[in-house]
Subunit: 131 residues, 2 copies
């Protein structure tokens, strides 16, 4: 039986008001301002719990740090391999979801993640200035 926790609520609310996709460390840094005694372990524990409850989703882009997104409706992400930022791909600009495979694929498909990558416009402009 799950009990209410002020810390979990703060983490969830923080994620919901962000449009980017913070890492656990960022969540810890920012949630700590209003909850100075919260511990990093509590952040990790609640992020995992919220993921398993389906209230948030974890984004993995292979750079060694997980990111978290309170928007669990299906959408694509873009990862800048230069600055590390992860952004949403606006749905109207995304191609149709490839989430369904034909019935003859033997394995059961429960979900699908789509991750684009490249060097974002900001990084491109910076490197052009630097030469």
């Amino acid at each position: 039986m799950m009990k209410y926790s002020r810390q979990r609520e703060a983490i969830k609310e923080y994620l919901m008001e962000r449009r980017d996709h913070p890492t656990a460390e960022m969540v810890y840094r920012d949630v700590r301002e209003a909850n100075p005694k919260i511990s990093l372990g509590t952040v990790y524990r609640n992020l995992s719990l919220l993921v398993s409850l389906g209230e948030i989703q974890k984004i993995c882009c292979g750079d060694g740090v997980e990111r978290y997104d309170a928007n669990v409706s299906p959408h694509y992400h873009y990862h800048c391999t230069c600055c590390g930022r992860v952004m949403d791909v606006p749905p109207e600009q995304a191609p149709p979801s490839p989430i369904r495979l034909r019935e003859d694929f033997p394995e059961e498909v429960e979900g699908c993640t789509v991750l684009f990558h490249g060097t974002c416009r900001d990084c491109k402009e910076k490197s052009e200035k630097t030469g």
Copy 2:
């Protein structure tokens, strides 16, 4: 200037003859049979090097272990969240690649990864037997 290395060749050849997607630890375990003195650091260094040369690709499915694939032509993967296996989605069963975004997406897209997930048929059957 890059020099030839027997170890790097062995790692590349090993990956090319596998149809699954071994982890660095698996590469180490198996390549060591023919190269008993190879070190795990050498495996990691060469896997990274081969990735940056574009000769192999790294697959990240968010379970904390990276996998490697000598097939660099675009294709989709399926990750069983139960047994951890990663398999190729047969191209004829995959939906069309969503690799191109419309031109008005401001960021530059260099690539795209698509990862399906679920409980594979083998795991499903096992859990049915267990009850």
